[in-house]
């Protein structure tokens, strides 16, 4: 039997994805398109929030949505019916997250002409999507009141990679032991730069602040 030969590799398994992500960001910059990676647990209200925000912004900028799920196309259809904008469904084939390559494949199916903003609605999950850079310009996440204000402590990585934390379902605050002040404090422990915006996607309360944040982000991305 041949003697064992050892080949040194010494390479992070995330290295290729990080490179792909940086390249994708640069290409988006050249095209003047801002990509937002939106993450949250299942059922926190990503799609409902998106519909509200899109309806506030669609006359001002060109928007498209990529919905990522393990299966089904209910979200993509819902967005298209409620807003009329371009909306495509990505299937992750059982995977719990999207990486930069999958995001690129998704973008290849989006007609970028006239677009300023593409929102990637990631798979509902607070763990895995935070590990993989999708190539988006920014990460945002939605935490809903029933999930509890301690989530930034339990899922630290998710909150440390997000620049915007939307606290959704504030209409049910009276029925839950959710402390908004504590939540904000915990978010800032993980990322001092993160902005926290409380909203109710169902009634539309506070949603205009999310729309403003996005509009400023898109403008800065194009001008910088």
């Amino acid at each position: 039997m041949d003697p064992v030969k050892v080949i040194e590799i010494k390479k992070s398994v995330f290295e290729d994805n990080d490179k792909d992500a940086c390249l994708l960001r640069k290409e988006l910059k050249d095209k003047g398109v801002y990509l937002l990676n939106l993450m949250s647990s299942p059922g926190s209200g990503k799609t409902t929030t998106l519909i509200r925000v899109i309806n506030l912004l669609r006359d001002k900028i060109g928007i498209a949505v990529m919905e990522a799920d393990i299966d089904s196309d209910v979200d993509a259809i819902k967005i298209k019916e409620a807003t009329g904008i371009q909306s495509i469904q990505l299937h992750t084939g059982g995977m719990c997250h999207l990486d930069a390559e999958m995001t690129r494949q998704g973008l290849d199916n989006v007609d970028l002409k006239g677009l300023d903003l593409v929102v990637l609605e990631n798979v509902g999950n607070l763990v895995c999507p935070a590990e993989f850079d999708t190539g988006a310009c920014r990460n945002a996440m939605i935490l809903s009141v029933p999930e509890g204000h301690d989530k930034p402590l339990k899922y630290p990585l998710m909150f440390s990679v997000c620049d915007l934390v939307i606290v959704n379902k504030i209409d049910v605050l009276p029925y839950f032991d959710f402390d908004l002040e504590k939540c904000t404090e915990y978010v800032h422990m993980r990322n001092p730069r993160a902005q926290v915006i409380p909203i109710c996607a169902k009634t539309g309360e506070g949603v205009e602040k999310v729309a403003e944040w996005l509009l400023t982000e898109v403008k800065n991305w194009k001008n910088k």
């Binding site: 064992v4 080949i7 010494k10 992070s12 997250h97 763990v127």
Partner: protein
């Protein structure tokens, strides 16, 4: 839960390295995995067996790993301490202004051919 995705990354990288070195079969892959990398070694092994055996290059290939200790640094008292035991709060001065120095590695160290 993301172990399967990571296994696909490992396979891609090992295939590339094997190709560059003209290797026809890999006997073992050795990983460096940080204590707080969020990887569950048992899950990684299960996913590895399932995915690796589908590749000629990796059929029967063993996956081994070194677990690297996690160390956190305190910005207030400038001391280092073991992360898993004490978390984000410095055991020396109680400060929460701390950051991880090492321990989240997910790295392919070497392959045996």
């Amino acid at each position: 839960m993301h172990e399967l995705g990571i296994v696909f990354y490992i396979i891609r990288d090992v295939k590339k390295a094997a190709e560059e070195n003209g290797v026809e079969h890999v006997n073992a892959v050795v990983m460096n995995i940080g204590e707080v990398s969020t990887i569950v070694p048992d899950y990684l092994m299960d996913c590895w067996r399932w995915a690796a055996d589908k590749e000629d290059l990796l059929r029967g290939c063993e996956l081994r790993f070194n677990i690297l200790p996690a160390v956190t640094f305190c910005e207030d008292c400038h001391q280092e301490y073991p992360t898993v035991e004490h978390g984000r709060t410095c055991p020396y001065c109680g400060s929460e202004k701390t950051y991880l120095l090492k321990g989240n590695e997910v790295e392919i160290k070497e392959i045996e051919v």
